[in-house]
């Protein structure tokens, strides 16, 4: 399954928005945190896990989804949220802890919820998976359309919730797709030290479901694999497991000195940064001129800037609001 031109451009544009968003967050995150780096300071306090390099996973999968479909994501959620169509202004405001944020500032960057597009995430490894299974069950039981996609990291594939979620989805033949973003690191631990098999797609066999591995962080190959899996799910054909080779261009979180990374690894990854690669590919294919590209980039930047401005300008919640919304 290959994306048409419109889809190709949609994917590229969302990759651009995602990257600009992360680059902007990265800069702002450092505000107020120098010279002594203290996470608690600055306009964006707390942990920050950036998705630079992993954009292909988000756009290749979400290109097949509509607002009614469900996505659950992880502690590293921005690129997926953007591709899923989460309200960017309110997401930015949430990351800043503002009252106008998606959760009024209660959640922050690891707890992005936008029910309008059925997006959510959780900061506990692999724990977003079972809720995706349950949302798929909900659709199947109530005969409502919709596919659920659970994103996870390759490190999460060794957590018990992974096993239970895949088995349950398979036993009940639910419309859910599991997408592993294999950036080969779980914080400082390389995949080979944590996972008994080189590729997690082989684990699909343990649940009698199809398993696919996509190499080289390739947006079109991801589009292809995800398209098939999502179509199968929509048609009642049950779950699929997809693992995608992708690249973590940033540290695990902001402030990570990355001393554990082998010399040269990051240079090699930057050399195949998916954004310029995609740009060249689209230009080569005649989808895009340099002028189009500049326009798209400007549009993406403007979109991000608007969101960031909204976030910056919004008020903080009143302190006492902390006590509200515990119960519906």
């Amino acid at each position: 399954m290959q994306p048409n031109r419109e889809q190709r451009l949609w994917m590229y544009e969302h990759m651009l928005v995602s990257r600009y968003f992360e680059e902007t967050i990265e800069k702002i995150y450092l505000e107020g945190k120098t010279p002594a780096f203290n996470m608690a300071n600055g306009p964006i306090p707390g942990e920050m896990h950036l998705s630079n390099g992993q954009e292909p996973c988000a756009v290749g999968v979400c290109a097949h989804l509509n607002a009614g479909d469900i996505v659950t994501s992880t502690h590293r959620p921005h690129h997926v949220a953007i591709a899923k169509g989460v309200d960017l202004d309110r997401m930015a405001a949430e990351i800043f802890g503002k009252k106008t944020g998606l959760s009024g500032g209660r959640g922050g960057h690891m707890h992005i919820f936008d029910p309008a597009v059925n997006f959510s995430c959780s900061g506990i490894i692999a724990q977003g998976m079972a809720p995706a299974v349950g949302a798929a069950l909900s659709r199947k039981m109530s005969n409502r359309e919709g596919v659920a996609v659970a994103f996870l990291g390759e490190g999460a594939a060794n957590q018990g919730a992974f096993h239970e979620s895949l088995n349950l989805a398979a036993v009940w033949e639910l419309p859910v797709v599991f997408v592993i973003e294999d950036n080969s690191w779980g914080i400082s631990v390389p995949k080979a030290d944590a996972t008994a098999v080189p590729r997690n797609d082989v684990r699909a066999a343990a649940y009698g479901m199809p398993g696919v591995y996509v190499t080289d962080n390739d947006p079109f190959a991801i589009f292809d694999a995800a398209g098939e899996a999502i179509a199968r799910a929509r048609a009642g054909g049950g779950p699929t497991l997809i693992e995608i080779e992708t690249w973590r261009l940033a540290g695990h979180f902001m402030g990570d000195a990355e001393g554990y990374r082998p010399k040269g690894e990051k240079d090699a990854l930057f050399a195949k940064d998916p954004i310029p690669r995609m740009r060249e590919r689209l230009i080569a294919a005649g989808d895009l001129t340099a002028g189009d590209d500049a326009a798209l980039a400007a549009k993406a930047r403007a979109r991000v800037d608007t969101a960031i401005a909204f976030a910056r300008e919004s008020d903080y919640p009143a302190a006492e609001e902390a006590l509200e919304r515990v119960f519906a």
Binding site: S103, G107, G134, M141, A161, E164, L168, E324, F327
Partner: protein
């Protein structure tokens, strides 16, 4: 049984049947309600509380699950957020250790994390309690463990009337509810049965609201506060105390979250003495909270030191003499009163 015996008929049900009836009635009127858990289909639940449901509603709405508590409780969170109203069984509360993240970090917090835009109307029913020699991984209450963590309502009925009304309220609640039922009160003969739990239950639907403790026996000399099985121990102790001329008031908390501190405080204000009965572990749990709640409001209402009759801080032993030694009972409550009677 004061305010709750506005029953319109004389039908007596066990808690197990009352729970199943409440679930069935809600399933009839609300197709979003479904049940899942281990052995809750054909078997009708190890503790009988889903009997008859699969026969009436079929396997799609009454789903036996794999032994994957993280999987199916997490799935229930996803289903509830997507508009369904799952009623889920964790067979023994003792098993919470394999699935607590789905419970306390997702189910209980997603409403807050989402700023209220996501609702998680989910009932997690789970059995508690010992007394029948099921040893240390199948006899715990863990009331305090659940009540301590924010974002979920925590309730436990002492009788079938409350069980039905609280289950109905739980299913209709827009929030997650931990519905803890004590095995010894279920009315399943094989677990022993506290006769006081089997009471008149109306056929029609009704709710017993959360956050309202019941004064199940009025008295003037001491307030005995309990929950679930503790209430029956308290009532029996009150009978024994009455023979000695002591008038005990018994408060059935019914819900721990929300906790009706007012009713407890007002009772202690009247009686001047407080005994808390708790089958959960002694320290850092329910008994400490009840005592602290009274003292911090006005310590001068206490004529004597408050007392607790709780499970000691030891794992639950298998052997009958040891287990019975540890469990709260009416005699221990009477002894607790005797130790403060002089004051």
């Amino acid at each position: 049984m004061n305010d709750k015996v506005s029953v319109t008929n004389e039908r007596r049900l066990t808690i197990a049947r009352a729970m199943a009836e409440a679930i069935a009635q809600e399933m009839r009127v609300d197709e979003r309600v479904f049940v899942m858990g281990e052995d809750i289909g054909t078997l009708g639940g190890v503790f009988g509380n889903t009997r008859g449901l699969v026969e009436e509603f079929g396997k799609l709405r009454v789903r036996d699950t794999p032994i994957s508590e993280t999987g199916f409780i997490g799935a229930a969170v996803g289903a509830a957020s997507d508009g369904m109203r799952p009623v889920v069984e964790l067979m023994f509360v003792d098993f919470f250790g394999v699935c607590m993240d789905a419970i306390y970090n997702l189910m209980a917090k997603n409403t807050y994390f989402s700023g209220g835009s996501v609702k998680v109307p989910l009932v997690l029913m789970t059995s508690t309690g010992g007394g029948y020699s099921d040893a240390g991984q199948h006899s715990q209450c863990l009331y305090g463990t659940f009540a301590h963590l924010p974002g979920m309502k925590v309730v436990s009925p002492s009788n079938a009337y409350d069980a039905k009304g609280m289950m109905t309220a739980a299913i209709r609640d827009e929030n997650p509810v931990i519905f803890m039922y004590h095995k010894g009160l279920q009315g399943m003969g094989w677990l022993g049965t506290e006769p006081g739990a089997t009471v008149n239950v109306p056929e029609e639907s009704y709710e017993v609201p959360f956050g309202k403790a019941a004064v199940v026996r009025e008295g003037t000399d001491v307030t005995i506060v309990g929950l679930a099985m503790g209430v029956h121990n308290a009532l029996k102790a009150a009978d024994l105390l009455a023979k000695k001329g002591v008038s005990a008031e018994v408060v059935d908390l019914r819900t721990l979250v929300p906790l009706d501190r007012d009713t407890v405080f007002n009772s202690v204000k009247k009686t001047g003495r407080l005994i808390v009965v708790d089958e959960d572990y002694h320290s850092f749990g329910v008994s400490g909270e009840i005592i602290a709640s009274v003292c911090e409001r006005d310590v001068s209402v206490l004529k004597a030191a408050p007392r607790r009759v709780a499970y000691p801080d030891v794992p639950i032993p298998f052997s009958r003499p040891m287990e019975q030694f540890c469990l709260p009972n009416p005699d221990k409550i009477v002894a607790a009163f005797d130790s403060i009677a002089g004051a």
